[in-house]
Amino acid sequence: MYSFEIGRPSTVADAVAALGKDEAQALGGGQTLIPTLKQRLASPETLVSLTGIAEMKGVCAEDGALSIGGGTNHATVAAEASAYPALAALAGGIGDPAVRNRGTIGGSLANNDPAACYPSAALASGATIVTNTREIAADDFFDGLFTTALEEGEIITSVRFPVPEAAAYMKFEQPASRFAMVGVFVAKYADGVRVAVTGGSEDGVFRWSAAEDALSANFSAEALDGVSVDADGMITDLHGSAAYRAHLIGVMTKRAVAAAQ
């Protein structure tokens, strides 16, 4: 690792001020950033740790929505998001227990790894990403691989999920990393069904509108018979071809619908 200083502010305001300096970067749980620093793929002069900021932690249910602090770790979401069971289950399936004790929802969404779990939940739920300066709809937040609408120095302070009538996340794990080979989050709301897919596309997480239309008309696995994803633009790597991933998306979506019944 290159050398850098670490600051540990205790309020969002102090963190924002510290991030205003040249070459400063936020440090969430470090479960992605520390391996990146070890590979010398990032060279911040200052890391601003968000782990000491109490106002960014916690899970709170209100008015049919679940609000989760941006610095809340995966283990806490798994244990406390009982108002939104599919989201709690997703958090409990990320990595392993030690990763879940450090990694945070804010870090996962900010990182927008094309195979990460949380982006699919945020997109399928039509969640709102709340930062120190504004609110961003999930539909406007994810911007392709490892890219988001966040400005330099902007911090995700919380994420608000409208709680659906029914939902499920199905992840086909890449067995070595436990990230999603393909993960599908299906959420049924009064005004329609939303389906978001992670791990599949070369452009990162996306909504599968053909499946949304079919499921909004008839919320059953059979409704997806004959609905398929084009393999064009899907990821091909040593774990699976584009055609395999496209097929897997159909299978995992059906399983998610069946699990959500």
Partner: protein, 161 residues
């Protein structure tokens, strides 16, 4: 450099650390507590698992500067000062839960975190909890068996002796 004060296995420690000092480096190089092993240094193997404020974390994926004010427990704190092994450590010995022993500190620390939250886990829960702990020797059966035994459950049906 930043000054940190923390408790390690119950003892208070104050030291100056660099921003990029990992917990594994702090424990092994500064405090000479070399029981916490570094197998991969890439967050994959779990040989470096320690407890920070009672929670299992990978010491290779946390900065020492972030442990300011924390209570840290390592494998060195598991046995009694007179050398009597903890229940989990003794179960690993009794059930051949280790061969080369490299993964064992992390395995024991993960097991201790599991049993604290879930005193009577099922075999499937034990295996699931050990997802982030790799062992290249045992094939896991006897590790699972040791942890089940340490939780006071009958292990006669779990893998052969």
């Amino acid at each position: 450099m930043v000054e940190v004060t923390l408790k390690v296995n119950g003892k208070s420690v104050t030291k100056s650390v660099k921003g990029n000092t990992l917990m594994t480096e702090f424990l092994r190089d500064e405090l000479r507590l070399t029981g916490t092993h570094v197998g991969c240094d890439t967050s994959q193997c779990g040989a470096c698992v320690i407890h920070v404020n009672g929670e299992a974390v990978k010491g290779c994926t946390m900065f020492a500067a972030e442990a300011d004010g924390a209570e840290v427990a390592t494998i060195e704190g598991m046995a009694s000062p007179d050398g009597t092994l903890s229940v989990i450590q003794q179960a690993f010995q009794d059930h051949h839960g280790l061969q080369c022993g490299f993964c064992t500190p992390g395995m024991v620390m993960s097991a201790a975190a599991l049993l604290k939250d879930n005193p009577k886990p099922t075999e499937a829960e034990v295996r699931d909890y050990l997802e982030g702990n790799l062992c290249r020797c045992t094939g896991y059966h006897n590790i699972v068996k040791a942890i089940m035994a340490a939780s006071g459950q009958d292990v006669s049906s779990i893998a052969a002796e």
